[in-house]
Amino acid sequence: MDTPFAITLGPGSSSVNRTGTWRTERPVYVDRLPPCNQACPAGENVQGWLYTAEEGDYQTAWRQLVAANPLPAVMGRVCYHPCETACNRAQLDHAVGINSVEEFLGDEAIRRGWVLPTPAPDTGKRVLVVGAGPSGLSAAYQLCLLGHHVEIRDSAARPGGMMRYAIPTFRLPRYVLDAEIDRILALGIDFRPNTPVEDLTAEHGFDAVFLAVGAQLAHRAYVPAAQSARILDALDLLGDTAAGQRPQLGRTVAVYGGGNTAMDAARTARRLGAEEAIIVYRRTRERMPANDIEVTDALEEGVRMKWLATVKHADVGVLTIERMELDEHGVPQPTGELEELQADSLVLALGQDVDHTLVDTLPGVRVEGGVVQVDEHMMTGHPGVFAGGDMVPSARSVTVAIGHGAAAARNIDAWLRGTVATPEPEREAATFERLNTWYYSDAPETVRPRLDAARRVSDFAEVTGKLDADTALYEARRCMSCGNCFGCDNCYGVCPDNAIVKVPTGHGYAIDLDYCKGCALCVTECPAGAIDMIPEPD
Amino acid sequence: MVLEATVRAATRSGRLACSAAKGCAVWRIRVHGRGGQGVVTTAELLSIAAFRDGHEVQAFPSFGSERMGAPVTAYCRISDAPIRTREPVTTTDVLLISDSTLLRQDDIFPGLTADGYVLVNSSRPWGALGLEDRLGGHRADRLRTVPATLIARNATGRPVPNAPMIGAFAALTGAVSLLAVEAALRERFAAEVAERNVRAARTAYEFLRGEIPAHA
C-alpha cells in the first residue's frame, strides 16, 4: 500500500514506545505462605498438593503429600486438621476439606498400590530410632530416603505406637494403619519389635539416635477410692479394646478428664455396651483440651458431659463429685458442694507421662517437667541423640509427632554430614485480606458423608465416610491457593498494556517491564494475592 | 424511429421558422402558470421538441420555492446557434400563459416584443379577456386563446394543460413541428400517458389551426 506520510501508520508500530519508563512501582510474583501450610504441624505443603489434586493428578498430589508425611491415610482420619481451622476460605464460606482430600489421596494410594520414593544411595550412616510411633516412623522414613540405614526398636509387638494402641478403630481402621506402616518399613528399615531400649549408654554401632518413645504412662492422679471400686486407665481401656478384648465396664461409665483420650475412652465405652458414658471435667467445654471435633462426635454419640466437676471419691457404683467454679484467672476452685454420680466404673484419662528412664543415665540429657529437653535442632544435650514426639515439650498429636520426625530427620542428616540444617526461609503470610475473593465461586463445603450417629455407637465401624473421586476433586478445587499463583490468567487478562506474558515454566507468567506502566491492576485482580508491588529500584 | 428520422430530416432541411416569420435568430419564450400545472414541464417539452427539430434549445424554470398554486415562470430559448446566455428571458417573443387568472398580474407582459405571440389557456375567445388596454398595439393574429385545460381533461383525464399548450404553440408559431411535439411527449412520458398527451396536443394544434371548433 502506498500509504501517505504520517496520516497512515503501520500496524502495531507502538511497540517501539517502551512505556515501562512510566513506572514507579513494579509488580512481582510472590509465593506467600498459605495459612494451611503455616498451620500444619507435619510441615505439609497443603496448598501445593491441593494444586496438583485440583488437576485430578492424584498420584502426583500424593507424592507431594508424602514428601512430608508418609501416613496420609492415617492423618486423613486422625488429624485434627489445624490447616482447616486456619483456612482463609472459612472467612468466605467454609474451610476447604483438606483433611478429607488427604484421606482420599491416602486411600487411593493404598488401593492402587502407589509406592514411596526410592531411597537415596546408602550413606553408610546408621541411625537408631527408638519407638515406632508416628514420630519414629516419620523420622525413620525421612532418614531412609536420605540414604541412611535405620533401625527402629519398639517395646510393642506391632509398630504404630499410640496410633495402634490408643486410637479406637472406629477412628482408624487398622488395615489403613498397617498398609501405611508396611509401606514405610518396606523401604528397607530394620524394625525390631518387642525390643525395648532401657539404657542408651549400652547402645553402640549407631551414628545417631532418635528417641520417640512417646508418653505412654498414664498420669498418676490420686483418687480416693473404695477397694472394690472399678477404676481403670484410659490407655489400658483403649489398648485392650484395640487388641480385641472387651473390658467389662458396667452400665454406667464415668471418664475423668477432658482430653482427646477421655473422649476416645467415652466413645469406646459406649461401643462396649455402656448405656451411659459421662465425662467428668473440672473446667468448662471452652477450656477442654480435647479437640472440638472429638467433643462434638462424643456428644452426638450420646456421651454426657459433667463440667466443673472433680471426683472426690469413688465407691462401688457411685462417685462423689465436687462442684468447681472458675476464678478470675480461669482456674477451677473447689466449692465444697458435693453430689453423687452413679457410675459402675471410672476411667481415668488425666494425661500421659513420659518414661524417660532410657536417657536417665545418658550424660548431658536434661529432663524437665517430665519431658526431655531438646535444642532448636531437636538434639538432646547428648551429641547425636535427638528426640521428638510426645516425649519432648510440645503439643501432643499424631500430626505434631510426624512433623517432629521429619524435622529430626533433617537435623540428624545435617549432623551426620557435619553441617547444621538451615531452617527454611521465612515466607510472608498469605492473609485473607490479600485475596480478591470475588473470583471464587460460591461453593459449599463438601461435607463428608457421616454415618448415622445411632449406628455409630453400636460397632467399631469407621464413623467418618469418604470423598469419592468427584467430590475430592471438587473439594480440592475449593482451595483459593492463597498467596500462590494458580494460573487463572487474571493478570494476563487485565493488563491494559499487554505487559504480562505467558511463559511455559515457573509461574506461567512474567512481567514485560518494557511496557508495564505499574498500574497494579494485576495485583488488585489477582485472586490469590500472589503479586506484590515493589518500588522501582533507584 | 422512422418518425423521429422523418422529423429530423424535415426540420434540418429548413431554417428555423422564426427567421422567416419574424426575422430573429432566437425564439425567446416565457411560460407562466401556477405550481402543479406543469409549467416547467411545458418548457422542458418545448425544449425537447425543438431539439428534435434540430435546434439548439435551452429551458429553465424561474427557480422558485413556490408550492402548489403559486405563480411559476419557466423560460425557453430556441436558436440555430449554441445558446450561451443564462439570464432569464426578459425580452419575449412568445408568452405561454397556462392560467388566465395570471393575466391580472402586472408583470406578465413587460418585455413582450411588439410582434410577439401570446397564447392563453382559456375557453373564452381572446376578445373576452379584456386585454385591449394592455396589448392594444399588438398583432391580433398572434394573440390567441386555447381551452387547454378542457382539451387536456378530455384527452388525458387530468386538467394539466401543458401538452395542449405546446400543441397550440406549434400551431401558432411554427417554431416547432407537431411531429416533434409528439415525439417529445413520447420521450418524456410512458407509453399510455404519452399517447393521451399526444392526442391532447394534436387537438390543440388543430384547434389553433381552426380545424375544429372551440368546444370540441
Binding site: N17, G493, A520, T524 | -
Partner: protein
C-alpha cells in the same frame, strides 16, 4: 445468561482463564494467541479501562470473524493514545475520521464492502461516550434506523476525558467534572434523565443491544460473539472506568466496574429487537455508597457534612434499575405502586 456457564473450577466463571479448563472454554483474553488488537506501547493512562475494554472487544471480534474485521474509531482518548504519529497500537485495520461521524463512516465502510461483495469482512465502530451519546448521536441513530451492518461499541467512561474531564450526556448525577464543579446547592452534574443510550438504541428496535463492563469478561466476550453472529446494526455499551476522570486508583479500574454493576447503577443486560432478553443478575448487591466512596468525583458527597440526601437519590436510581431489569435474584418482586 449470555455468560458461558462453567462448571465450578476454583475461580468459577469469573476469572480471565483457568488452567483447569479446556482451552476452548477459556476466555479469549486468556489465550496466548489472542490478537492483542491494541498492543503494547500505547499511551493510555495507567490502569486505563478503555484500553482494556477495547482489547477485550476487538480480540473477541477478531476471533469470531476469523480476522475478517475492519474498525472505525471516533476521536477521543482511545484514538489519541493509540495513534500518535509515528506509532500505532492497532493491529487491526483501523480508520479514524472525526469525532461525530464514526457511525456514518462505518456505514460507508459497510456499504462499500456490500457493494464489493465482501460481506465476509465485518465492520466494528467504536468511540467514547461523548462520541456516542452526544456529538455522534445523530450519525449513530441514522446508522441504526437504516439497518446498516455495523457493530457500534461505546466505551463509556462517563465524561469527556480526552479534553480533561468535562461533562457529557453520559455523566451520572452529582459527579464532579471540570464543567460541573462540586459547588453550589446541587454539586456536580445536574441530575436528569441523562442519555440512556442502550434504551434509546432499543427504541430503534435494532437486532441487538447489550451493556457490559470490563469486570465481567466472559459476559462481555459472549456479547461480542453474539453481536457478531448477527447482521444489521448492533450496539454494545461497555462501562470502562477512567482513573483520571473518576479520581480512582489505577489498580481499582476493574474493581470499580464491578461495583458499578453490583450496586445496580450500571445494569448489565442484553436486548434483541427492542426487548430485553437477559440480564446479568447482581450476585452480591451493595449500597451505592460503596461504589461512590472510592471515587474522588463523588468526594463532595462524603464531605463534612455528608450529602446523604444526594447519596439517597443515587441509591434510588440504582433501585429503579434493579426493579426495571430485575437485577437482584433475591429481591422480592417489585410491588406495583410501592
Amino acid at each position: 445468561m449470555p455468560a458461558q456457564s462453567v462448571k465450578f473450577y476454583q475461580v468459577g466463571s469469573r476469572a480471565v482463564g483457568n488452567r483447569l479448563l479446556d482451552a476452548e472454554l477459556r476466555t479469549e483474553q486468556s489465550s496466548a494467541e489472542r490478537r492483542n488488537s491494541i498492543t503494547s506501547g500505547h499511551r493510555a493512562c495507567q490502569g486505563c479501562g478503555e484500553a482494556l475494554g477495547a482489547r477485550y472487544v476487538l480480540d473477541t471480534a477478531e476471533r469470531v470473524t476469523g480476522g475478517r474485521l475492519v474498525t472505525v474509531n471516533a476521536t477521543g482518548c482511545l484514538e489519541v493514545f493509540s495513534t500518535p504519529y509515528p506509532e500505532s497500537a492497532w493491529q487491526v485495520p483501523w480508520l479514524h475520521s472525526l469525532f461525530a461521524n464514526t457511525a456514518s463512516v462505518a456505514s460507508g465502510v459497510a456499504a462499500a464492502l456490500e457493494a464489493q461483495g465482501r460481506t465476509d469482512v465485518r465492520v466494528l465502530a467504536q468511540g467514547g461516550d461523548g462520541g456516542t451519546v452526544d456529538i455522534g448521536f445523530a450519525c449513530l441513530s441514522g446508522m441504526f434506523e437504516r439497518g446498516d451492518d455495523v457493530l457500534f461499541v461505546c466505551y463509556d467512561n462517563e465524561a469527556y476525558m480526552n479534553t480533561g474531564v468535562q461533562r457529557s450526556g453520559a455523566t451520572p448525577a452529582y459527579a464532579r467534572t471540570a464543567t460541573t464543579e462540586a459547588v453550589g446547592p446541587i454539586p456536580g452534574s445536574r441530575p436528569g434523565q441523562g442519555k440512556d443510550l442502550p434504551r434509546i438504541a432499543m427504541a430503534h428496535e435494532i437486532p441487538y443491544v447489550a451493556t457490559a463492563t470490563v469486570a465481567e469478561l466472559r459476559d462481555l466476550e459472549a456479547k461480542v460473539e453474539r453481536a457478531m453472529s448477527m447482521r444489521g446494526p448492533r450496539y454494545l455499551h461497555v462501562l470502562v472506568p477512567c482513573p483520571l476522570g473518576w479520581g480512582s486508583a489505577p489498580a481499582e479500574t476493574v474493581h470499580l466496574a464491578r461495583l458499578a454493576q453490583r450496586s445496580g447503577l450500571f445494569p448489565v443486560f442484553e436486548a434483541e429487537h427492542g426487548e430485553v432478553t437477559s440480564v446479568l443478575p447482581i450476585r452480591d448487591r451493595i449500597p451505592v455508597e460503596e461504589y461512590l466512596r472510592p471515587q474522588r468525583r463523588y468526594a463532595h458527597l462524603f464531605a463534612d457534612p455528608p450529602r446523604t440526601d444526594l447519596i439517597e437519590r443515587i441509591q434510588q436510581i440504582a433501585d429503579r434499575n434493579v426493579a426495571r431489569y430485575h437485577l437482584d435474584p433475591h429481591e422480592i418482586p417489585h410491588e406495583e405502586g410501592a
